[in-house]
Symmetry: C2
Subunit: 333 residues, 2 copies
């Protein structure tokens, strides 16, 4: 059945059933009223919104509807993680062509529900509208558990570190687009990296607890996101290219291209943060996911990044990451 046949209100009822009952005891009003409503104690609330647009952020030939649902919520949860917070309540603006299959919409919400359950998020509202392409805009409210991780708190002398590996998501997209044949396990690994990113919420909490002040999540690519930190904090950065955490599977599948993917590939949704050496050494002991020191914050060349190779020589690099209006091509790299 098409959404045109079911109609808006039938679709809303079906979505409400798919989403199911909210779990949070703080929720007062969920799906189906003019707004959602929830109780708060004295606290700091976090709010973010991020959109996925068909043929800009994704193509339906590559991602399944369930993966899209997962990712649409994941990218927002990642923003909350990058502030050191816990996500809570999500609202979804959905734009759909009238010919969309109802089953696909249900799958989309199943994907959202799946990651929502994993991170204790309740989907509490939103709206549905006809649209020329599929549009999934999620807004998410969360809570800070203590201090905040901001882009503006990096200080000269800090080391720069990342969780996990770099460039896997961009590599995944390359593989999915090219239909390049790798063994099944490797393909699944890269597909997962691109389409089912796992936001670093627990890691963000640990960073805050250990006194880290500066972080960002990697959505546009390492160089681009580190530039955000450098500009906001009015500092410069040095990156040691031979220290970047490049996964063995990336290395073997992409050889010389892997450095470029690690530097400029977007959508890894790892956390990039800066802190004193002693703090990072402690973090390495308590964090379950890998942490790699990749450079240092300096006080000269504000807003700029210098890339240094294994001999300590400056390397030139032109690609910086994704710019929505300047970057070529129809889909995000």
């Amino acid at each position: 059945m098409k959404v045109r046949e079911l109609g808006e209100f039938g679709l809303i009822e079906l979505i409400a059933r798919t989403v199911g009952k909210a779990k949070s005891r703080d929720l007062v009003v969920g799906i189906g009223d003019d707004t959602a409503a929830w109780r708060t104690e004295k606290s700091i609330q976090l709010g973010t919104t991020d959109i996925l647009i068909q043929n800009v952020h994704f193509t339906l030939g590559i991602a399944t509807w369930r993966e899209l649902g997962w990712k649409a919520l994941a990218v927002n949860i990642s923003d909350i993680a990058a502030m050191g917070g816990k996500p809570g309540f999500a609202m979804v603006s959905l734009g759909l062509p009238a010919e969309t299959e109802v089953d696909n919409v249900v799958e989309l919400y199943r994907g959202m529900k799946e990651i929502a359950s994993k991170f204790d998020v309740d989907i509490v509202g939103g709206n549905i509208s006809r649209a020329p392409v599929v549009i999934i805009d999620v807004s998410l409210v969360g809570k800070a558990s203590g201090s905040l991780l901001t882009r503006s708190a990096a200080a000269p002398g800090d080391q720069i570190a990342v969780t996990g590996y770099l460039g896997l998501s961009a590599a995944g997209l390359k593989i999915l687009k090219s239909k390049r044949k790798l063994d099944l396990k490797t393909t699944a690994f890269f597909r997962e990296a691109h389409l089912r990113p796992c936001p670093r919420v627990a890691e963000g909490q640990v960073l805050v607890q250990h006194g880290v002040k500066a972080a960002i999540d990697l959505s546009d690519g390492l160089l681009s996101d580190l530039t955000h930190i450098c500009k906001s904090s009015r500092v410069g950065a040095r990156i040691w290219t031979n220290k970047l955490p490049i996964h063995p599977l990336l290395e073997s599948a992409f050889k010389k291209q892997s450095l470029g993917l690690a530097l400029s590939g977007g959508e890894d949704y790892e956390l990039l943060f800066t802190a004193r050496r002693g703090v990072i050494n402690k973090l390495k002991k308590v964090m379950s996911s890998p942490i790699t020191v990749i450079g240092e914050i300096v006080d000269d060349k504000q807003g700029q990044i210098t890339l240094l190779n294994s001999e300590g020589k400056a390397v030139k690099w032109n690609e910086t990451g994704w710019d929505h209006f300047k970057s070529p091509g129809l889909t995000r790299k």
Copy 2:
């Protein structure tokens, strides 16, 4: 200059300058970090999101960019008003074709800023993305000042009332689309009704203070929105068609069509609410905007509306309002 030439990050800086400094003392982090952050006391928070899509909700030939900005925020403020709350922090997801003029984007934000200032809202975050058409998705968080106005609290014996007039926005769209010539003042009146709706925030507060429990804002049209109340509250409704508040200018410009516009025309953003007769009589004395009793809640025919004419006879009516997937035509009526 086109947004393609300025680029995403230049555009974000320009928008941040246009939006200016936030006013709320509760704001901790505004535009430019992974999320916005604000302090809350023990309270009830309200969250809503509503989207405007080019050629679905508006056409650029009819609305100016500044009017679009106003309206995109207004429709969200109206949802908060309909819960009896006060709006606080807005986030904006913007989708733009790469050929969009930068000046138009600035005008859009000026329109948002204008209504934001009027209602003490701060624009604290969002994102920008390339898109095939203009997409403006606003999410808004507010605070309940006391009890909530919900769709599910209407009770048999309640009277049904509305603030202001019905059908003016739909009439405005008809006039703007047809380029029908009316005198300048009348044209401006209808244009304003359609493109610069003024959400009933103060009125929502007064409703709560006087013990009203059930309300909705009129976005889809009287019959459609009243049906939401009837279904959520498991009650029926009778509407007296000769009691509907039809503005003299609507009557004179649309003659016999005016009843249809009042019943099914959407986007008036007035408040529709139900309460005991005595409460409504008190409200009429204290409310600065007009309030009209248009019917009553009954316990039979759950989820249904009966229209009665001046002789008390049932009238048939087929149009119920806007359904995003079933309604004909490219733009909202």
